[in-house]
Amino acid sequence: MVIPGGMLNRKALRDLWALRAQVISIALLIASGIAVFVMSASNYATLLRARNDHYAAGRFPDVFVSLKRAPLAVAERLRLIDGVGVLDTRIAATIRIDDPGSELPVMGRMLALPPQGQPALNRLVLRSGVWPDPARADQVLVNEAFAARRGLRPGDGLRGILNGRLQSFVVSGTALSPEFVFATRPGDPLPDDRHFAVLWAPERTLANAFDMFGAFNDVVLTLAPGAHVPRVLAEIDEALSRFGGTGAITRRDHASDRFLADELTEQRTLAVIAPALFFGVAAFLLTVVVGRLVETQRDQIASLKALGYPSGPILRHYFLLVSAIAVTGAGIGIVAGHVLAIWVVEAYRGFFRFPVMEHRLEIWAVLASFVVSLLVAMGAAMRSVTRIVLLPAMAALRPAPPQFRATSLPAWFGLVWSTRSRIALRGIIGRPLRSALSMIGVGLAMPLVVLGLFWFDALDYMVDMTFDRIQRGDVYVTLTEARPASALEDFRRLEGVLLAEGQRVVPVILRSEHRTYRAALSGLPPGGELNVPRQSDYTRLPVPEEGLVLSRRLVERLGLRIGDSVTVEVLEGRRLVRDVPLTAISDDVLGMSATLSIAALNTLLREGPLINVVALRVDPAHRKALFRQLAAMPAIATTSSKQVWLDLFQDRVVGLIMVSAGLLTLFGMLIVVGVVYNVARVTLHERATELASLRILGFTREEVAGILLTELAIIVVAGIGIGIALAGWAVRLLLAARSTESFEIPPVIASSTYVIAVVAMIVASALCAWLIRKRVDRLDLVAVLKARE
């Protein structure tokens, strides 16, 4: 007996071939969604695995504290605190790397290694060379990122200024540490491997240089299972307060861990949001195309059923058809996603320093891709297929074309439009549901393009806001100690300095009920030009005589409202504790800032008019000279340059964002082509007789195509309108989903972005129009006369 499916399978293949252009465009849409999904899902898995392995093998601590100096005996007391797991003490110091070739001072974080070499926590992974010989005072390990950037190899020399004394070292090897996956100098927004090094030296070296024999100034610890975190932190702070403890922090406030966590959030968001969008549109297109296919094959289905064909094989036939599309799309998407993922992981390597970061194709992601694609495709086909197949055989199987009635159009129509544009308009009005869906389909593509492009606007805004409006100084100099405001005169005299302003910056803990945050509290001169708190619309926020200005995210984190009182615990000097009212909220985009007038801060610290940071506006022509003079000045702890940050920002952040922006734009255009082309093909198919009739009546190809293209143009224009409305909303949704603490990306969309997105839509539509035009040219007039529906 002949299996009933045999002929039908051949028919499925023939249908696929006949619809190939549409099949390909829908498969590509599914592929885009799957590609983003597979890429993000495997990046997420790769990062997560690399992090977890590194953290586990390296015993990454849960809590971090630094302090001034405590005798080793104190460590024993800390270990007794309930909830503390493994606790390690060490000596850590900030040093200066001597590098006359560098314009900016190069800073280093030097950490002591115990005599046995490997510390109990934050265990190192040796990447090259050997461990420092504890018997020699001049050997150090250097973090891989700095070594790579500076071309340092084992055996190379390195000079550092430790506690004011120049010392020569030899690089014994390079290493990685779980606490410096992302190596940043405390307080810096981004890792700057050129100007920041991590060095590990035998304990003796540091004890000698900083006079720390029998003492420590840095504590890291893991938490015991079930530990009550706030209580552990509070007890540690209590125990260390006499020794200059600056407050225990958890991983949440650990710079390296937070950057990693942010990137993980980012990838997870991308893995969910983008595919959802693509699948939505692909499902819509499948519904339209399969619906149309079934519609044109009504007669065939009816006669098959009249011949006694059961519904089962017919249903299976159509599902086979859509499954083929789904599986093809998923297959292409998985390959593309895999390639993209490999590429992104390569980009990560220069960014996140892991001992092992292996990219794997995630089997679960592959399976999920197939399952989701199939489900979406089946779901899309379900409605039209079952509706027709389950109809009783031969019953009312005439297609129902749209019915036009004399009353269905407003009277002014006749006055305004030529007869041909009326055909176009009624083509849209005659199928209101399909037209609306098509417009929405196009409308969904536009936000995707905007989602890709808005990053540049948002970054522009962030850079503009942060570096041009808020931190307006070109160079910031941190002094080793607070000095009288008159010290400013020394800076004003330097060649190239146009403006100098003194600031007082102290580390504090801000506390509101049980919520705390470690911040640098900046005392700013009221009316100052170089640091200006702002609101999101750029308006200046005057620094009040009294009272705090906090950035919005900090206010949210502390659960504050204007007028509330904030407890400020100063983490240096006499460690004063004061309550200060919150008087204004600022909108900075990078980091979280806390500001006070400098006079109020001096009063709070019970000191005279002192400054410890100098902000400078610099004449670019004299930059080099200025840095030379600064290098020669005493009592300067660090110097940072805005230009370096801008370059880093460009280098690190913009590069990564470019990748996803480019992808989203490309995929957005794919959606436009997919929607417009499919809608046009379906329309062309339905209207072939009508259009051929017009050609027979003597209308030119241009005129006939014009009718169809007018319809498409109306759909595209309406779709663009919908898209513009949706774009802002989509951007907000994406940002809400990826919201992280280290920095918030503002939902800023420049009008030029809208223009580019609209142009992209028009270009994609024009491409479709051209393809459709070709098809209209090929209309076979004689065949159309014979084939009678």
Binding site: A406, T689, S693, L694, G698, L785
Partner: protein
């Protein structure tokens, strides 16, 4: 009155009489090649003088539609030549054929091919808008007796009414040539007579050269000349000494 079995339909034309508008020589249309080739037209010669009403008869598959479509600039012959006045139809570009149809030809088919989204008046206006010297839409609609239905859509009309709209649409531009392929094929005899009446009116009053394909030999009574096709050849040409009016036909 039949002539030879391989009749030449008025070759060379009469020396007197109206000028010839259609002139075809050796028209051949072949589909496929080799043993499977289908010969739709075989070496057809034809001259049609201006203003003549011609009926094409012949069994199914004899090549009537093929011939009509070539004359109307919808199809191209495999070989041979056809010209309308000074227009060379064979070898003409798609643009030239479109312009030819637009300026000179109107069609009426068995299936009405109205634009479903346009009402009666608009379907007719559609053509009037691209014609050089159209009659008014109202006039054309009145010619087919559909003035009361001017604002109705095709889906609101019967088949016969739709066909009359098609005829109104065909004659509104005062075409030089009216080509009809089984215009009454789907209609009952009474409606058929109405439709034929409108076609006849165009032929008599506007002097439109008219070619009508039909399976109904009664209709042949309206023609000046009746051409019979078989197997792609004109096998018989008969001239009606007296033409019947559409109203006088009965079947």
């Amino acid at each position: 009155m039949s002539e030879t079995s391989r009749a030449r339909a008025n070759p060379g034309g009469n020396s007197a009489g109206p000028p010839v508008v259609f002139r075809a020589r050796g028209l051949t249309k072949t589909y496929g090649s080799g043993p499977n080739a289908v010969h739709a037209l075989r070496d057809v010669d034809l001259d049609i003088p201006e203003g003549e009403f011609i009926v094409l008869l012949g069994p199914s598959g004899s090549g009537k539609s093929t011939l009509l479509n070539i004359l109307g600039g919808l199809d191209a012959p495999t070989s041979g030549e056809a010209r309308f006045r000074e227009h060379e139809l064979t070898g003409a570009s798609e643009e030239e054929l479109t312009a030819y149809r637009r300026e000179h030809v109107s069609f009426v088919f068995q299936f009405y091919n109205l634009i479903p989204s346009l009402n009666v008046g608009e379907n007719v206006r559609l053509v009037a808008e691209i014609a050089a010297d159209p009659m008014s839409v109202e006039e054309a609609v009145a010619l087919v007796g559909l003035t009361p239905r001017l604002h109705h859509f095709p889906s609101e009309l019967s088949g016969g009414e739709q066909q009359r709209v098609a005829v109104a649409r065909a004659i509104v531009k005062r075409p030089d040539v009216l080509l009809c392929d089984e215009p009454t094929g789907a209609l009952d005899s009474e409606t058929g007579r109405l439709v034929l009446g409108a076609i006849e009116k165009a032929n008599r009053e506007l002097g439109t050269t008219t070619v009508v394909i039909t399976h109904n030999s009664v209709i042949a009574g309206m023609a000046h000349r009746v051409l019979s096709l078989r197997d792609g050849r004109i096998v018989d040409v008969s001239i009606n000494p007296e033409r019947k009016r559409a109203g006088e036909l009965s079947w």
